[in-house]
Amino acid sequence: MAKSAKSSSLAPAAPAALFVGAAFVWPLVRLCAAAFAKGDEAAPGIVRLFTDAYDRRALGHSIVFSALVALASVLLCLPGAIALARGRFAGRSLLRALFAVPLSLSGVIVGFLAVAMLGNAGALPSLLHASWLRGSAFTVGGLAAAYLYFEIPRATLTMEAALAAVDEGLLEAARTLGARPWQVARFVLLPLCAPAMRAAFGVTFAASLGSFGVALILAARYSLLPVELYRAFTGTLDDSLAAAMALALAVVAAVVLMAAHRGRR
Protein backbone atom coordinates (compact mmCIF):
# COMPACT_ATOMS: atom_id res chain seq x y z
CA MET A 1 0.00 0.00 0.00
CA ALA A 2 1.57 3.27 -0.95
CA LYS A 3 1.88 5.12 2.29
CA SER A 4 1.73 8.34 0.43
CA ALA A 5 4.20 10.60 2.15
CA LYS A 6 1.52 13.17 1.51
CA SER A 7 -1.03 12.06 4.15
CA SER A 8 0.15 13.49 7.49
CA SER A 9 -0.59 11.57 10.68
CA LEU A 10 -3.54 12.30 12.97
CA ALA A 11 -1.34 12.16 16.09
CA PRO A 12 -1.72 15.89 16.87
CA ALA A 13 -5.46 15.30 17.18
CA ALA A 14 -4.99 12.65 19.90
CA PRO A 15 -4.90 14.99 22.94
CA ALA A 16 -8.12 16.70 21.85
CA ALA A 17 -9.78 13.35 21.19
CA LEU A 18 -8.69 12.05 24.61
CA PHE A 19 -10.04 15.19 26.27
CA VAL A 20 -13.46 14.97 24.57
CA GLY A 21 -13.50 11.26 25.37
CA ALA A 22 -12.84 11.78 29.08
CA ALA A 23 -14.86 15.00 29.51
CA PHE A 24 -17.82 14.19 27.27
CA VAL A 25 -18.13 10.65 25.94
CA TRP A 26 -17.36 8.85 29.20
CA PRO A 27 -19.69 11.12 31.23
CA LEU A 28 -22.42 10.62 28.62
CA VAL A 29 -22.04 6.85 29.05
CA ARG A 30 -22.35 7.25 32.82
CA LEU A 31 -25.38 9.46 32.19
CA CYS A 32 -27.05 6.65 30.26
CA ALA A 33 -26.25 4.23 33.09
CA ALA A 34 -27.72 6.62 35.66
CA ALA A 35 -30.82 7.18 33.54
CA PHE A 36 -31.52 3.44 33.41
CA ALA A 37 -30.63 2.75 37.04
CA LYS A 38 -33.52 2.43 39.47
CA GLY A 39 -31.75 3.68 42.60
CA ASP A 40 -34.21 4.00 45.47
CA GLU A 41 -37.02 5.21 43.24
CA ALA A 42 -39.89 3.10 41.97
CA ALA A 43 -38.56 2.88 38.39
CA PRO A 44 -35.52 4.06 36.43
CA GLY A 45 -35.52 7.75 35.58
CA ILE A 46 -35.91 7.10 31.87
CA VAL A 47 -39.14 5.20 32.54
CA ARG A 48 -40.52 7.79 34.92
CA LEU A 49 -39.71 10.54 32.44
CA PHE A 50 -42.25 9.01 30.10
CA THR A 51 -44.78 7.68 32.62
CA ASP A 52 -45.03 10.94 34.61
CA ALA A 53 -47.54 13.06 32.69
CA TYR A 54 -46.01 16.38 33.74
CA ASP A 55 -42.43 15.51 32.78
CA ARG A 56 -43.55 13.91 29.53
CA ARG A 57 -45.46 17.07 28.70
CA ALA A 58 -42.36 19.15 29.53
CA LEU A 59 -40.37 17.06 27.02
CA GLY A 60 -43.14 17.45 24.46
CA HIS A 61 -43.33 21.19 25.06
CA SER A 62 -39.56 21.53 24.67
CA ILE A 63 -39.51 19.66 21.35
CA VAL A 64 -42.57 21.35 19.83
CA PHE A 65 -41.59 24.78 21.13
CA SER A 66 -38.00 24.48 19.84
CA ALA A 67 -39.20 23.22 16.45
CA LEU A 68 -41.64 26.14 16.02
CA VAL A 69 -39.06 28.70 17.12
CA ALA A 70 -36.44 27.16 14.80
CA LEU A 71 -38.86 27.11 11.85
CA ALA A 72 -39.97 30.68 12.47
CA SER A 73 -36.42 31.97 12.85
CA VAL A 74 -35.27 30.22 9.63
CA LEU A 75 -38.14 31.63 7.56
CA LEU A 76 -37.83 35.06 9.16
CA CYS A 77 -34.09 35.30 8.61
CA LEU A 78 -33.77 33.77 5.09
CA PRO A 79 -34.07 37.07 3.14
CA GLY A 80 -31.62 38.81 5.42
CA ALA A 81 -29.17 35.90 5.20
CA ILE A 82 -29.33 35.96 1.39
CA ALA A 83 -28.59 39.68 1.38
CA LEU A 84 -25.68 39.26 3.78
CA ALA A 85 -24.27 36.31 1.81
CA ARG A 86 -24.76 37.58 -1.75
CA GLY A 87 -25.10 41.33 -1.54
CA ARG A 88 -22.16 43.70 -1.83
CA PHE A 89 -23.42 46.86 -0.12
CA ALA A 90 -21.83 49.41 2.19
CA GLY A 91 -22.12 48.56 5.88
CA ARG A 92 -22.51 44.84 5.19
CA SER A 93 -19.77 43.89 7.65
CA LEU A 94 -21.22 46.32 10.23
CA LEU A 95 -24.61 44.65 9.79
CA ARG A 96 -23.02 41.22 10.25
CA ALA A 97 -21.35 42.48 13.44
CA LEU A 98 -24.78 43.57 14.74
CA PHE A 99 -25.84 39.93 14.42
CA ALA A 100 -22.61 38.47 15.81
CA VAL A 101 -22.81 40.31 19.14
CA PRO A 102 -26.31 39.07 20.15
CA LEU A 103 -25.25 35.58 18.99
CA SER A 104 -22.83 35.37 21.88
CA LEU A 105 -25.40 36.45 24.49
CA SER A 106 -26.26 33.66 26.88
CA GLY A 107 -29.90 32.80 27.53
CA VAL A 108 -29.95 34.41 30.96
CA ILE A 109 -29.28 37.84 29.46
CA VAL A 110 -31.96 37.33 26.82
CA GLY A 111 -34.39 36.38 29.61
CA PHE A 112 -33.53 39.57 31.44
CA LEU A 113 -33.92 41.64 28.25
CA ALA A 114 -37.38 40.13 27.83
CA VAL A 115 -38.40 41.08 31.35
CA ALA A 116 -36.84 44.54 30.94
CA MET A 117 -38.74 45.06 27.67
CA LEU A 118 -42.03 43.19 28.14
CA GLY A 119 -42.34 42.75 31.91
CA ASN A 120 -45.17 44.30 33.93
CA ALA A 121 -42.92 47.27 34.51
CA GLY A 122 -41.18 46.79 31.17
CA ALA A 123 -39.89 49.59 28.95
CA LEU A 124 -41.92 48.81 25.82
CA PRO A 125 -45.41 48.91 27.38
CA SER A 126 -44.68 52.36 28.79
CA LEU A 127 -42.77 53.62 25.72
CA LEU A 128 -45.41 52.40 23.26
CA HIS A 129 -48.33 53.08 25.63
CA ALA A 130 -49.47 49.53 24.86
CA SER A 131 -50.87 48.27 28.13
CA TRP A 132 -51.73 44.86 26.60
CA LEU A 133 -47.96 44.30 26.38
CA ARG A 134 -47.64 44.72 30.14
CA GLY A 135 -46.39 41.47 31.70
CA SER A 136 -46.44 39.66 28.35
CA ALA A 137 -42.90 38.48 29.01
CA PHE A 138 -44.27 35.81 31.33
CA THR A 139 -46.77 34.42 28.83
CA VAL A 140 -46.04 31.67 26.30
CA GLY A 141 -46.00 34.39 23.63
CA GLY A 142 -43.38 36.31 25.58
CA LEU A 143 -41.34 33.13 25.97
CA ALA A 144 -41.56 32.53 22.20
CA ALA A 145 -40.50 36.13 21.47
CA ALA A 146 -37.50 35.76 23.79
CA TYR A 147 -36.49 32.46 22.16
CA LEU A 148 -36.91 34.03 18.71
CA TYR A 149 -34.66 36.92 19.76
CA PHE A 150 -32.15 34.33 21.01
CA GLU A 151 -32.25 32.41 17.68
CA ILE A 152 -32.36 35.16 15.05
CA PRO A 153 -28.57 35.76 15.06
CA ARG A 154 -27.85 32.03 14.98
CA ALA A 155 -30.25 31.36 12.09
CA THR A 156 -29.07 34.33 10.07
CA LEU A 157 -25.32 33.68 10.36
CA THR A 158 -25.63 29.92 9.85
CA MET A 159 -27.60 30.44 6.63
CA GLU A 160 -25.29 33.22 5.50
CA ALA A 161 -22.29 30.90 5.70
CA ALA A 162 -24.09 28.15 3.81
CA LEU A 163 -25.56 30.50 1.18
CA ALA A 164 -22.16 31.80 0.09
CA ALA A 165 -21.97 28.84 -2.28
CA VAL A 166 -25.31 29.61 -3.99
CA ASP A 167 -24.70 30.33 -7.69
CA GLU A 168 -26.78 33.36 -8.56
CA GLY A 169 -26.27 32.80 -12.25
CA LEU A 170 -28.92 30.10 -12.00
CA LEU A 171 -31.54 32.66 -11.01
CA GLU A 172 -30.69 34.72 -14.07
CA ALA A 173 -30.76 31.63 -16.23
CA ALA A 174 -34.25 30.87 -14.93
CA ARG A 175 -35.37 34.40 -15.77
CA THR A 176 -34.05 34.04 -19.30
CA LEU A 177 -36.15 30.87 -19.52
CA GLY A 178 -39.25 32.94 -18.84
CA ALA A 179 -39.72 32.27 -15.11
CA ARG A 180 -41.54 35.10 -13.31
CA PRO A 181 -40.01 36.32 -10.00
CA TRP A 182 -42.20 34.16 -7.75
CA GLN A 183 -41.44 31.14 -9.97
CA VAL A 184 -37.71 31.88 -9.77
CA ALA A 185 -38.02 32.04 -5.99
CA ARG A 186 -40.16 28.93 -5.71
CA PHE A 187 -38.47 26.63 -8.24
CA VAL A 188 -34.86 27.82 -8.18
CA LEU A 189 -34.07 29.95 -5.13
CA LEU A 190 -35.81 27.75 -2.54
CA PRO A 191 -34.22 24.48 -3.69
CA LEU A 192 -30.86 26.27 -3.77
CA CYS A 193 -31.35 27.55 -0.22
CA ALA A 194 -32.85 24.32 1.15
CA PRO A 195 -29.56 22.84 2.46
CA ALA A 196 -28.72 26.13 4.19
CA MET A 197 -32.17 26.33 5.72
CA ARG A 198 -32.00 22.72 6.87
CA ALA A 199 -28.63 23.33 8.52
CA ALA A 200 -29.92 26.50 10.21
CA PHE A 201 -33.03 24.66 11.45
CA GLY A 202 -30.83 22.00 13.04
CA VAL A 203 -28.58 24.49 14.79
CA THR A 204 -31.40 26.72 16.08
CA PHE A 205 -33.48 23.72 17.20
CA ALA A 206 -30.59 22.31 19.24
CA ALA A 207 -29.86 25.74 20.74
CA SER A 208 -33.51 26.34 21.70
CA LEU A 209 -33.91 22.84 23.11
CA GLY A 210 -30.91 23.25 25.36
CA SER A 211 -31.45 26.90 26.20
CA PHE A 212 -31.73 27.10 29.96
CA GLY A 213 -31.18 30.75 30.88
CA VAL A 214 -34.23 32.14 29.07
CA ALA A 215 -36.57 29.51 30.50
CA LEU A 216 -35.15 29.95 34.00
CA ILE A 217 -35.78 33.71 34.07
CA LEU A 218 -39.17 33.72 32.35
CA ALA A 219 -40.30 30.38 33.89
CA ALA A 220 -43.87 30.85 32.78
CA ARG A 221 -46.33 28.10 33.72
CA TYR A 222 -45.33 26.56 30.34
CA SER A 223 -43.09 23.72 31.51
CA LEU A 224 -39.84 23.19 29.55
CA LEU A 225 -37.53 20.24 30.07
CA PRO A 226 -34.33 22.19 30.90
CA VAL A 227 -36.07 23.85 33.86
CA GLU A 228 -37.54 20.55 35.07
CA LEU A 229 -34.05 19.07 34.73
CA TYR A 230 -32.70 21.90 36.90
CA ARG A 231 -35.44 21.31 39.45
CA ALA A 232 -34.84 17.53 39.53
CA PHE A 233 -31.08 17.98 39.80
CA THR A 234 -30.97 20.64 42.52
CA GLY A 235 -34.38 20.45 44.21
CA THR A 236 -35.55 16.92 44.65
CA LEU A 237 -32.11 15.31 44.19
CA ASP A 238 -33.64 12.81 41.78
CA ASP A 239 -30.40 12.02 39.94
CA SER A 240 -31.84 9.21 37.85
CA LEU A 241 -34.66 11.43 36.54
CA ALA A 242 -32.23 14.29 35.97
CA ALA A 243 -29.94 11.94 34.04
CA ALA A 244 -32.87 10.73 31.97
CA MET A 245 -33.91 14.28 31.14
CA ALA A 246 -30.35 15.27 30.26
CA LEU A 247 -30.08 12.19 28.07
CA ALA A 248 -33.36 13.00 26.33
CA LEU A 249 -32.19 16.55 25.59
CA ALA A 250 -28.85 15.28 24.30
CA VAL A 251 -30.31 12.57 22.07
CA VAL A 252 -33.06 14.73 20.56
CA ALA A 253 -30.66 17.61 19.88
CA ALA A 254 -27.98 15.31 18.37
CA VAL A 255 -30.47 13.44 16.18
CA VAL A 256 -32.01 16.60 14.76
CA LEU A 257 -28.59 18.14 14.16
CA MET A 258 -27.30 15.03 12.39
CA ALA A 259 -30.40 14.91 10.20
CA ALA A 260 -30.12 18.61 9.40
CA HIS A 261 -26.47 18.27 8.46
CA ARG A 262 -26.95 15.14 6.34
CA GLY A 263 -25.25 15.63 3.02
CA ARG A 264 -23.21 18.59 4.10
CA ARG A 265 -19.63 18.77 2.66
Partner: protein, 332 residues
Protein backbone atom coordinates in the same frame (compact mmCIF):
# COMPACT_ATOMS: atom_id res chain seq x y z
CA UNK B 1 21.07 15.81 -14.38
CA UNK B 2 20.00 12.39 -15.69
CA UNK B 3 16.83 10.97 -14.13
CA UNK B 4 16.19 7.20 -14.19
CA UNK B 5 13.09 5.32 -13.03
CA UNK B 6 13.47 1.57 -12.50
CA UNK B 7 10.40 -0.70 -12.17
CA UNK B 8 8.45 1.93 -10.16
CA UNK B 9 5.28 0.45 -8.57
CA UNK B 10 2.61 2.50 -6.73
CA UNK B 11 -0.58 0.94 -5.31
CA UNK B 12 -3.51 2.95 -4.00
CA UNK B 13 -6.53 1.32 -2.29
CA UNK B 14 -8.48 -0.26 -5.12
CA UNK B 15 -6.15 0.28 -8.02
CA UNK B 16 -2.51 0.02 -9.06
CA UNK B 17 -1.44 3.52 -10.19
CA UNK B 18 2.03 2.56 -11.56
CA UNK B 19 2.80 -1.01 -12.54
CA UNK B 20 6.56 -1.41 -13.02
CA UNK B 21 7.38 1.84 -14.85
CA UNK B 22 10.95 2.18 -16.11
CA UNK B 23 12.00 5.32 -17.98
CA UNK B 24 14.87 7.73 -18.42
CA UNK B 25 15.17 11.49 -18.79
CA UNK B 26 18.53 12.28 -20.40
CA UNK B 27 20.45 15.21 -18.91
CA UNK B 28 19.67 18.57 -20.57
CA UNK B 29 16.67 17.19 -22.45
CA UNK B 30 12.97 17.99 -22.06
CA UNK B 31 10.85 14.84 -21.85
CA UNK B 32 7.09 14.79 -21.73
CA UNK B 33 5.01 12.12 -19.96
CA UNK B 34 1.76 11.98 -21.87
CA UNK B 35 -1.36 9.88 -21.36
CA UNK B 36 -5.08 10.18 -20.66
CA UNK B 37 -6.23 11.15 -17.14
CA UNK B 38 -5.91 8.21 -14.78
CA UNK B 39 -2.88 6.83 -16.64
CA UNK B 40 -0.70 7.44 -13.54
CA UNK B 41 0.96 10.67 -14.62
CA UNK B 42 0.48 12.50 -11.29
CA UNK B 43 1.62 9.41 -9.36
CA UNK B 44 4.78 9.42 -11.45
CA UNK B 45 5.30 13.09 -10.66
CA UNK B 46 4.64 12.39 -6.97
CA UNK B 47 7.25 9.62 -6.91
CA UNK B 48 9.82 11.75 -8.73
CA UNK B 49 9.23 14.79 -6.48
CA UNK B 50 9.40 12.58 -3.34
CA UNK B 51 5.86 13.42 -2.28
CA UNK B 52 4.80 9.79 -2.83
CA UNK B 53 6.88 6.85 -1.56
CA UNK B 54 6.70 4.08 -4.21
CA UNK B 55 5.76 0.51 -3.25
CA UNK B 56 8.52 -0.84 -5.45
CA UNK B 57 11.33 0.16 -7.82
CA UNK B 58 14.01 2.86 -7.58
CA UNK B 59 14.59 6.46 -8.59
CA UNK B 60 18.12 7.51 -9.54
CA UNK B 61 19.52 11.00 -10.16
CA UNK B 62 22.82 10.69 -12.12
CA UNK B 63 23.09 7.03 -10.92
CA UNK B 64 22.60 7.97 -7.23
CA UNK B 65 19.66 6.12 -5.64
CA UNK B 66 17.39 8.83 -4.21
CA UNK B 67 14.25 6.68 -3.77
CA UNK B 68 14.21 7.26 0.00
CA UNK B 69 15.11 10.94 -0.15
CA UNK B 70 12.33 13.24 1.21
CA UNK B 71 11.04 15.91 -1.18
CA UNK B 72 12.90 18.69 0.61
CA UNK B 73 16.28 17.09 -0.18
CA UNK B 74 15.77 16.45 -3.89
CA UNK B 75 16.02 20.07 -5.20
CA UNK B 76 13.58 19.41 -8.05
CA UNK B 77 11.82 22.59 -9.17
CA UNK B 78 8.16 21.55 -9.29
CA UNK B 79 5.57 23.78 -10.98
CA UNK B 80 2.23 22.30 -9.85
CA UNK B 81 -0.94 22.31 -11.92
CA UNK B 82 -2.71 24.41 -9.26
CA UNK B 83 0.51 26.47 -8.88
CA UNK B 84 0.11 26.33 -5.05
CA UNK B 85 1.48 29.84 -4.45
CA UNK B 86 1.81 31.11 -0.84
CA UNK B 87 -1.11 33.52 -1.04
CA UNK B 88 -0.21 35.22 2.21
CA UNK B 89 3.06 36.41 0.62
CA UNK B 90 3.84 38.77 -2.24
CA UNK B 91 5.07 37.43 -5.59
CA UNK B 92 8.62 38.43 -4.71
CA UNK B 93 8.52 36.68 -1.31
CA UNK B 94 7.17 33.54 -2.99
CA UNK B 95 10.17 33.51 -5.31
CA UNK B 96 12.50 34.17 -2.34
CA UNK B 97 11.13 31.19 -0.38
CA UNK B 98 13.66 28.53 -1.51
CA UNK B 99 16.78 30.73 -1.06
CA UNK B 100 15.39 31.69 2.36
CA UNK B 101 14.92 28.12 3.61
CA UNK B 102 18.30 27.28 2.14
CA UNK B 103 19.72 29.91 4.46
CA UNK B 104 21.21 32.08 1.73
CA UNK B 105 22.42 35.54 2.88
CA UNK B 106 20.05 38.47 2.22
CA UNK B 107 22.16 39.93 -0.56
CA UNK B 108 22.46 36.57 -2.30
CA UNK B 109 18.72 36.03 -1.87
CA UNK B 110 17.81 39.36 -3.45
CA UNK B 111 20.16 38.69 -6.33
CA UNK B 112 18.73 35.23 -7.03
CA UNK B 113 15.15 36.52 -6.75
CA UNK B 114 15.87 39.40 -9.14
CA UNK B 115 17.53 36.99 -11.56
CA UNK B 116 14.60 34.54 -11.46
CA UNK B 117 12.05 37.33 -11.87
CA UNK B 118 14.02 38.67 -14.86
CA UNK B 119 14.09 35.23 -16.46
CA UNK B 120 10.28 35.06 -16.45
CA UNK B 121 9.86 38.84 -17.00
CA UNK B 122 7.79 39.18 -13.79
CA UNK B 123 9.50 42.24 -12.22
CA UNK B 124 6.56 44.56 -12.94
CA UNK B 125 3.99 42.78 -10.73
CA UNK B 126 6.27 40.88 -8.31
CA UNK B 127 5.61 43.15 -5.34
CA UNK B 128 1.82 42.75 -5.34
CA UNK B 129 0.20 40.12 -3.06
CA UNK B 130 0.19 36.75 -4.78
CA UNK B 131 -3.57 36.31 -4.33
CA UNK B 132 -4.40 39.35 -6.50
CA UNK B 133 -2.26 38.35 -9.52
CA UNK B 134 -3.80 37.17 -12.82
CA UNK B 135 -3.53 33.57 -14.10
CA UNK B 136 -0.58 34.33 -16.39
CA UNK B 137 1.20 36.38 -13.71
CA UNK B 138 0.77 33.61 -11.11
CA UNK B 139 2.14 31.14 -13.64
CA UNK B 140 5.31 33.22 -14.10
CA UNK B 141 5.77 33.62 -10.32
CA UNK B 142 5.38 29.83 -9.81
CA UNK B 143 8.05 29.20 -12.42
CA UNK B 144 10.37 31.85 -10.97
CA UNK B 145 9.88 30.33 -7.47
CA UNK B 146 11.10 26.96 -8.76
CA UNK B 147 14.01 28.49 -10.71
CA UNK B 148 15.20 30.58 -7.74
CA UNK B 149 16.06 27.28 -6.01
CA UNK B 150 18.61 26.58 -8.74
CA UNK B 151 16.93 23.17 -9.16
CA UNK B 152 18.79 20.09 -10.52
CA UNK B 153 15.78 19.58 -12.83
CA UNK B 154 12.32 20.98 -13.50
CA UNK B 155 9.06 19.02 -13.03
CA UNK B 156 6.13 20.70 -14.80
CA UNK B 157 2.64 19.35 -14.01
CA UNK B 158 0.11 20.40 -16.73
CA UNK B 159 1.66 23.91 -16.54
CA UNK B 160 -0.69 25.61 -18.99
CA UNK B 161 -3.94 23.79 -18.27
CA UNK B 162 -5.65 26.81 -16.70
CA UNK B 163 -4.59 29.40 -19.28
CA UNK B 164 -6.39 30.62 -22.41
CA UNK B 165 -5.02 29.52 -25.81
CA UNK B 166 -3.22 32.69 -26.76
CA UNK B 167 -1.46 33.16 -23.38
CA UNK B 168 -0.63 29.45 -23.48
CA UNK B 169 1.23 29.71 -26.77
CA UNK B 170 3.32 32.70 -25.60
CA UNK B 171 4.30 31.11 -22.26
CA UNK B 172 5.06 27.83 -23.99
CA UNK B 173 7.53 29.41 -26.38
CA UNK B 174 9.11 31.46 -23.58
CA UNK B 175 9.48 28.38 -21.35
CA UNK B 176 11.02 26.40 -24.19
CA UNK B 177 13.57 29.14 -24.85
CA UNK B 178 14.27 29.52 -21.12
CA UNK B 179 14.91 25.80 -20.52
CA UNK B 180 17.17 25.66 -23.55
CA UNK B 181 19.08 28.75 -22.42
CA UNK B 182 19.56 27.37 -18.87
CA UNK B 183 20.40 23.89 -20.20
CA UNK B 184 17.99 22.45 -17.63
CA UNK B 185 16.73 18.87 -17.60
CA UNK B 186 12.95 18.98 -17.49
CA UNK B 187 10.10 16.53 -17.29
CA UNK B 188 6.66 17.71 -18.39
CA UNK B 189 3.48 15.87 -17.39
CA UNK B 190 0.54 16.61 -19.66
CA UNK B 191 -2.48 15.14 -21.46
CA UNK B 192 -2.19 17.82 -24.22
CA UNK B 193 -0.16 16.70 -27.23
CA UNK B 194 0.40 20.30 -28.42
CA UNK B 195 2.16 21.17 -25.12
CA UNK B 196 4.17 17.92 -25.35
CA UNK B 197 5.32 18.48 -28.92
CA UNK B 198 5.98 22.21 -28.26
CA UNK B 199 8.29 21.63 -25.28
CA UNK B 200 9.60 18.08 -25.33
CA UNK B 201 12.03 16.35 -27.63
CA UNK B 202 11.33 12.94 -26.10
CA UNK B 203 8.02 11.40 -25.06
CA UNK B 204 6.97 8.71 -22.57
CA UNK B 205 3.43 7.49 -23.31
CA UNK B 206 1.70 6.16 -20.18
CA UNK B 207 -1.38 3.91 -20.23
CA UNK B 208 -3.02 2.38 -17.13
CA UNK B 209 0.17 2.70 -15.11
CA UNK B 210 2.49 1.16 -17.75
CA UNK B 211 4.82 2.68 -20.33
CA UNK B 212 3.12 2.09 -23.69
CA UNK B 213 6.00 3.54 -25.66
CA UNK B 214 8.92 5.95 -25.15
CA UNK B 215 11.39 7.66 -27.42
CA UNK B 216 11.98 10.57 -29.78
CA UNK B 217 8.84 12.67 -30.24
CA UNK B 218 8.87 12.73 -34.06
CA UNK B 219 9.59 8.98 -34.25
CA UNK B 220 6.63 8.19 -31.97
CA UNK B 221 4.36 10.43 -34.06
CA UNK B 222 5.38 8.81 -37.35
CA UNK B 223 5.67 5.21 -36.17
CA UNK B 224 3.44 4.69 -33.12
CA UNK B 225 3.75 1.24 -31.51
CA UNK B 226 -0.02 0.88 -31.10
CA UNK B 227 -3.32 2.35 -32.12
CA UNK B 228 -3.45 3.96 -28.62
CA UNK B 229 -0.21 5.88 -29.21
CA UNK B 230 -1.21 6.75 -32.78
CA UNK B 231 -4.55 8.36 -31.80
CA UNK B 232 -3.03 9.95 -28.68
CA UNK B 233 -0.29 11.76 -30.56
CA UNK B 234 -2.32 13.04 -33.47
CA UNK B 235 -5.37 12.81 -35.61
CA UNK B 236 -5.15 9.43 -37.38
CA UNK B 237 -7.17 7.42 -39.91
CA UNK B 238 -6.65 3.67 -39.60
CA UNK B 239 -7.10 1.70 -42.86
CA UNK B 240 -7.28 -2.11 -42.87
CA UNK B 241 -4.53 -3.81 -44.98
CA UNK B 242 -5.93 -6.41 -47.43
CA UNK B 243 -2.59 -7.81 -48.66
CA UNK B 244 1.17 -7.40 -47.95
CA UNK B 245 4.21 -7.76 -50.22
CA UNK B 246 7.50 -6.88 -48.44
CA UNK B 247 7.53 -3.09 -47.97
CA UNK B 248 4.29 -2.60 -49.99
CA UNK B 249 0.70 -3.23 -48.85
CA UNK B 250 -2.75 -3.06 -50.44
CA UNK B 251 -5.32 -0.82 -48.68
CA UNK B 252 -8.66 0.30 -50.11
CA UNK B 253 -7.70 -1.28 -53.38
CA UNK B 254 -4.39 0.60 -53.90
CA UNK B 255 -0.81 -0.49 -53.24
CA UNK B 256 1.14 1.92 -50.95
CA UNK B 257 4.64 1.92 -49.39
CA UNK B 258 4.50 0.84 -45.75
CA UNK B 259 6.84 0.37 -42.75
CA UNK B 260 6.40 -1.76 -39.64
CA UNK B 261 4.58 -5.11 -39.46
CA UNK B 262 1.15 -3.99 -38.27
CA UNK B 263 -2.21 -4.99 -39.74
CA UNK B 264 -3.49 -1.46 -40.25
CA UNK B 265 -2.06 1.63 -41.95
CA UNK B 266 -1.84 4.90 -39.90
CA UNK B 267 -2.69 7.82 -42.15
CA UNK B 268 -2.02 11.40 -40.86
CA UNK B 269 -3.96 14.27 -42.49
CA UNK B 270 -0.70 16.16 -43.10
CA UNK B 271 0.78 13.05 -44.79
CA UNK B 272 -1.87 12.92 -47.58
CA UNK B 273 -1.77 14.87 -50.83
CA UNK B 274 -4.44 15.54 -53.52
CA UNK B 275 -3.50 14.37 -57.03
CA UNK B 276 -5.28 14.10 -60.35
CA UNK B 277 -7.82 11.33 -60.77
CA UNK B 278 -6.21 7.83 -61.04
CA UNK B 279 -3.08 8.78 -59.06
CA UNK B 280 -4.43 7.29 -55.77
CA UNK B 281 -7.63 6.53 -53.95
CA UNK B 282 -10.57 8.00 -55.93
CA UNK B 283 -12.28 10.45 -53.49
CA UNK B 284 -15.18 12.87 -53.51
CA UNK B 285 -14.56 16.26 -51.79
CA UNK B 286 -17.28 16.72 -49.11
CA UNK B 287 -16.13 19.71 -47.06
CA UNK B 288 -13.29 22.20 -47.06
CA UNK B 289 -12.46 24.86 -44.49
CA UNK B 290 -9.47 27.10 -43.98
CA UNK B 291 -7.63 25.96 -40.79
CA UNK B 292 -5.33 28.95 -40.29
CA UNK B 293 -2.20 28.15 -42.34
CA UNK B 294 -3.69 25.37 -44.53
CA UNK B 295 -6.90 23.93 -45.99
CA UNK B 296 -8.59 21.08 -44.11
CA UNK B 297 -10.37 18.84 -46.63
CA UNK B 298 -12.85 16.13 -45.78
CA UNK B 299 -13.27 13.52 -48.53
CA UNK B 300 -15.14 10.23 -48.96
CA UNK B 301 -12.88 7.50 -50.34
CA UNK B 302 -13.47 3.99 -51.64
CA UNK B 303 -16.38 2.03 -49.99
CA UNK B 304 -17.32 5.06 -47.91
CA UNK B 305 -14.12 5.50 -45.94
CA UNK B 306 -13.82 9.15 -44.80
CA UNK B 307 -10.41 10.72 -45.33
CA UNK B 308 -9.08 14.05 -43.97
CA UNK B 309 -6.23 15.91 -45.67
CA UNK B 310 -4.32 19.12 -44.83
CA UNK B 311 -3.22 20.79 -48.11
CA UNK B 312 -1.84 24.17 -49.26
CA UNK B 313 -4.37 24.80 -52.05
CA UNK B 314 -8.04 24.09 -52.49
CA UNK B 315 -8.99 21.77 -55.37
CA UNK B 316 -11.61 23.17 -57.70
CA UNK B 317 -15.14 22.54 -56.58
CA UNK B 318 -16.73 19.34 -57.97
CA UNK B 319 -13.43 18.16 -59.52
CA UNK B 320 -12.86 14.45 -59.51
CA UNK B 321 -9.70 13.91 -57.46
CA UNK B 322 -7.58 11.18 -55.88
CA UNK B 323 -5.78 11.00 -52.54
CA UNK B 324 -2.30 9.55 -52.05
CA UNK B 325 0.10 9.26 -49.04
CA UNK B 326 3.20 11.47 -49.53
CA UNK B 327 5.62 8.79 -48.24
CA UNK B 328 5.78 5.38 -46.60
CA UNK B 329 2.96 4.79 -44.13
CA UNK B 330 3.55 3.11 -40.73
CA UNK B 331 1.43 0.11 -39.76
CA UNK B 332 0.32 -0.93 -36.28
Amino acid sequence: MRIALDQIRVDFPGHRALDGVSAEVASGTVTAVIGPSGAGKSSLLGVLSGLIAPDGGAVRFDDEDVTSWPAERRRLGVVFQELRLFDFLSGRDNVGFAPRVEGAAAGERQRRVAEALALVRAEKFADRPARVLSGGERQRIALARALAMRPRALLLDEPFAALDAELRRNLRDELRALIARLGLTALLVTHDRDDAFALASRLIVLRDGRVEQAGDAAALYRSPASEFVATLLGEAMLLPIAARDGDRAQALGQWIAVTGSGSRAVLRPDALEIVAEGGGWPAQLVDARFAGSRWRLTLVGPDGHSLTALTDELPAAGARVAVRPRGPVHTV
